[in-house]
C-alpha cells in the first residue's frame, strides 16, 4: 500500500512541476520579444526620431512623426465613431433586453466581434474609399471604429447589467424622467466599466494594420486633413520591416517600441480606472 501511495504522491508533485514549467516556457517568447524590442528600439529613439519626417531611401536619419500623428488622429476618429454609437446601442440592448430587436443586436455584436480585420478592411474599401474616390484618414478611422464597436458595446452592456435595478427605481421614484435617469444616474455609475472598455478598444486598434492597408493607405508627409491618406505606426512597421534597408529596420524597431509603450500605458490606465472607480 505504501509504495502505491508514494507513487501517487510522486505523480502529483511531478504534475505540478510540469505545469509550472510549461507555463514558464510561455513566458520565454514574451520576455524575448519585449527585450528585443526594447534593445533595438530604445537606441533609435531621440528627438529627431520623434519629431521629423522620413528621408528618401538610402539616406540616414529621418523620423516617424507622420506615423505618430497619424495613429493619434485615427484613434480619435475611431473613438468619435464608436463611443457614442457603442454606448447608445449598449443602453438600448440592456434597457429593452426582452425585445426581439435587442436580442438581434446582441447576436450581431457577437458576430461582429469575430470578423477578421482584413475582411473589415475590404468592407472599408468598398464602402468608404471606392465610392468617394479617395483614400482617406476618415475611411481608416471609421474602419477602425467598426472594429472597436463590439468591444465598447459589450463593455457597456456588461457594466449596465451589473448596476442594481434599485438605483434606477430610486431615481424614477424621486421624479426623474426616464431618459434622464439613464443619462445622469445610471451611466455615471457605469463610468468605470465603459471607460475600461474604451481603453481596451483603443489598445486593440492602435496595433491594427490590415484594415488600414486599403483605407488609410499611407502618407510620407504630415497630414491633418482627414480627407486625405494618412500613415500610421503599424503601417510603417509593416512597410519598413519587409524592406532590405537596415536604416528602415532600425526605425521599425523604434516604432514598435513606441506602440508597445502606448499599449502598456493604456493597459495600466485600465487597471487604474477600475481601481479608482470601484464603488
Amino acid at each position: 500500500m505504501d509504495k502505491k501511495i508514494i507513487f501517487r504522491i510522486f505523480k502529483d508533485k511531478l504534475f505540478k512541476f510540469i505545469v509550472i514549467c510549461t507555463s514558464g516556457l510561455v513566458l520565454i517568447p514574451l520576455v524575448f520579444i519585449i527585450l528585443y524590442i526594447i534593445k533595438n528600439g530604445i537606441s533609435v529613439i531621440n528627438l529627431e526620431f520623434l519629431f521629423t519626417l522620413p528621408k528618401p531611401i538610402g539616406e540616414a536619419g529621418g523620423g516617424i512623426i507622420h506615423s505618430l500623428t497619424g495613429t493619434f488622429i485615427l484613434i480619435i476618429l475611431a473613438s468619435l465613431f464608436s463611443i457614442p454609437l457603442g454606448i447608445g446601442a449598449g443602453i438600448y440592448a440592456v434597457e429593452h433586453k426582452k425585445s426581439k430587436v435587442a436580442k438581434i443586436i446582441i447576436f450581431s455584436v457577437e458576430i461582429l466581434q469575430g470578423i477578421p480585420s482584413i475582411v473589415i478592411g475590404i468592407i472599408g474599401y468598398m464602402w468608404l474609399v471606392k465610392p468617394i474616390g479617395q483614400f482617406s484618414a476618415l475611411s481608416g478611422g471609421i474602419t477602425l471604429g467598426i472594429m472597436m464597436l463590439p468591444i465598447v458595446i459589450k463593455a457597456t452592456e456588461e457594466t449596465l447589467k451589473l448596476i442594481p435595478f434599485s438605483l434606477k427605481e430610486a431615481a424614477i421614484a424621486l421624479g426623474v424622467p426616464y431618459y434622464k435617469a439613464i443619462l445622469k444616474v445610471i451611466l455615471p455609475s457605469a463610468k468605470s466599466g465603459i471607460i475600461t472598455g474604451i481603453l481596451v478598444g483603443i489598445a486593440r486598434i492602435s496595433g491594427e494594420t490590415a484594415p488600414l492597408l486599403f483605407t488609410a493607405f499611407g502618407n510620407n508627409f504630415l497630414n491633418f486633413n482627414i480627407f486625405k491618406p494618412i500613415d500610421a505606426l503599424p503601417l510603417l512597421i509593416f512597410n519598413y520591416a519587409t524592406s532590405p534597408y537596415k536604416e528602415w529596420h532600425k526605425i521599425a524597431w523604434g516604432a514598435s517600441f513606441v506602440i508597445v509603450i502606448l499599449i502598456l500605458v493604456l493597459n495600466i490606465s485600465t487597471r487604474l480606472v477600475v481601481k479608482k472607480w470601484r464603488t
Binding site: I76, G133, F135, F217, N219, F221, N225, K228, P229, P244
Partner: protein, 352 residues
C-alpha cells in the same frame, strides 16, 4: 470629479474639432497635395525626386509604392492623381478604361538577376539558364551549365531558392517579357504579366520585399531593379544579350538599349534589345494619367499641379537619375513625352 471629467471631454472635443478645421482649411488653401501610387521599380528615384520637388516648389507628392498592378488599378478606380507602372497598359486594358489614359516615361532602369551566394561572386548567365532556374528546371547552384559559364567561381552544392514578387509588379512584367522573348518554354508555361503563376519560389512584396528576402536567405536568387541591388551591396549577374555579348547592367548599358525608335505613345518594350552593347533586361517606367483631367470633380489647380509635376520630372527632375543609377530619358523620349503632356486637357482645353 464629474466637473473635471466634463472639462476634459470638452477640451478633447474642442481639440479634435480644431484639428479637423485646420485640416480642412489646409485642403482649401493653395497647398495641393498630389497622390500617386504604383511601381516600386522607380521608387528610390521618385522618393528623391519628390523630396526635392517639395523643397523647390512646396508641393507635396505622396507616392505609395504598392506595385505597378496597384498603380494601374487605383488609377482605373480614379482614386489617385497618377499611377506608376513599368508594365505599360495593353491595348485591351486601355480600351476597357472609361477614359483615355496617357503614358509618360520618366526614366530607364534595369532589372537585374541578383543572388545570395558565399563570397558574392560575379556570375555570368545566359537567357536559357535564367529561364530554367526560374522554371525550376535547374535546381542546384553547381549545375553543369552554370559551372561551365563560370569556371573560376566556387559554386556550392546547394538548392537554388527562387524569390519572386508576391504582388502585381511591373518589374515582373519586364522580367517575364524578356523571358517570353528568349525562351519558348517560358512563353508557353508561364507567359508575361504583372502577376504570374510562378512554378517555384517564395514571394516578396515589392522590390524591397524581394531584395530583403534574398539578402537574408542564403543560396537564393531573384530579380530586382538595379538600384535595390546596389544600395544593399548585393551582387548581380552579367547577362548575354541578343548580339552575344555579356553585358553588365549599368546606366550606360541601359541607355544604349533605349536607342531605338520610340512610338508616339511611348509604349514600347526594350527587353532583348538589338543594341550591340545594350543590357537585355532594360525598360522604361511610366507615369499614367487621364487625358481629360476633369473627372470626379478634380479642380483645375490639381490638374495643373499634376501636369507641372510631370513636366518637371521629364526635364529638371532628370538630373537626379544618374546618382541613383537610373538612366536619364533619351532626347527622343523627352520629345514624345512633351507632346503627350501638351495634349492633357481640362474640360477640353489644353493645360500647358
Amino acid at each position: 470629479m464629474r466637473g473635471k471629467l466634463i472639462l476634459f471631454t470638452i477640451i478633447a472635443i474642442t481639440m479634435t474639432v480644431l484639428l479637423m478645421i485646420i485640416g480642412c482649411g489646409n485642403n482649401k488653401s493653395s497647398e495641393v497635395e498630389l497622390l500617386g501610387a504604383g511601381a516600386t521599380f522607380p521608387y528610390p528615384l521618385y522618393s528623391k525626386m519628390f523630396s526635392e520637388y517639395y523643397k523647390e516648389k512646396g508641393i507635396r507628392v505622396n507616392y505609395q509604392a504598392i506595385g505597378s498592378g496597384g498603380g494601374i488599378r487605383q488609377l482605373l478606380n480614379k482614386v489617385v492623381d497618377f499611377g506608376g507602372t513599368d508594365a505599360f497598359m495593353s491595348d485591351g486594358s486601355l480600351a476597357k478604361a472609361t477614359a483615355k489614359i496617357l503614358h509618360i516615361p520618366t526614366c530607364l532602369g534595369a532589372v537585374v538577376v541578383t543572388y545570395n551566394l558565399p563570397g558574392n561572386p560575379k556570375l555570368k548567365l545566359t537567357s536559357d539558364i535564367i529561364a530554367d532556374i526560374f522554371l525550376g528546371k535547374i535546381k542546384k547552384w553547381n549545375d553543369d551549365r552554370i559551372k561551365k559559364l563560370n569556371p573560376e567561381v566556387g559554386l556550392p552544392d546547394s538548392n537554388i531558392t527562387v524569390v519572386h514578387r508576391s504582388d502585381g509588379s511591373g518589374t515582373t512584367f519586364i522580367f517575364s517579357d524578356y523571358l517570353s522573348k528568349v525562351s519558348k518554354k517560358w512563353r508557353e508555361k508561364v507567359g508575361r504579366g504583372k502577376s504570374l503563376n510562378w512554378p517555384v519560389g517564395l514571394g516578396g512584396k515589392g522590390n524591397p520585399g524581394v531584395a530583403g528576402l534574398i539578402k537574408q536567405t542564403p543560396n537564393s536568387v531573384g530579380y530586382v531593379e538595379l538600384i535595390y541591388a546596389l544600395q544593399n551591396n548585393m551582387p548581380f549577374a552579367t547577362i548575354k544579350n541578343k548580339k552575344g555579348n555579356f553585358i553588365v547592367p549599368s546606366l550606360k548599358s541601359v541607355s544604349l538599349a533605349a536607342q531605338i525608335n520610340i512610338p508616339d505613345d511611348t509604349r514600347i518594350s526594350l527587353t532583348d534589345t538589338d543594341a550591340e552593347k545594350g543590357y537585355p533586361i532594360s525598360s522604361f517606367t511610366w507615369i499614367i494619367l487621364y487625358q481629360e483631367q476633369n473627372y470626379n470633380s478634380r479642380s483645375y489647380e490639381r490638374a495643373k499641379a499634376t501636369v507641372d509635376l510631370l513636366w518637371w520630372i521629364i526635364h529638371n527632375g532628370q538630373k537626379y537619375n544618374k546618382e541613383l543609377e537610373y538612366a536619364p530619358l533619351p532626347a527622343s523620349a523627352v520629345e514624345k513625352a512633351e507632346k503627350i503632356l501638351k495634349s492633357v486637357i481640362y474640360n477640353g482645353k489644353n493645360i500647358l
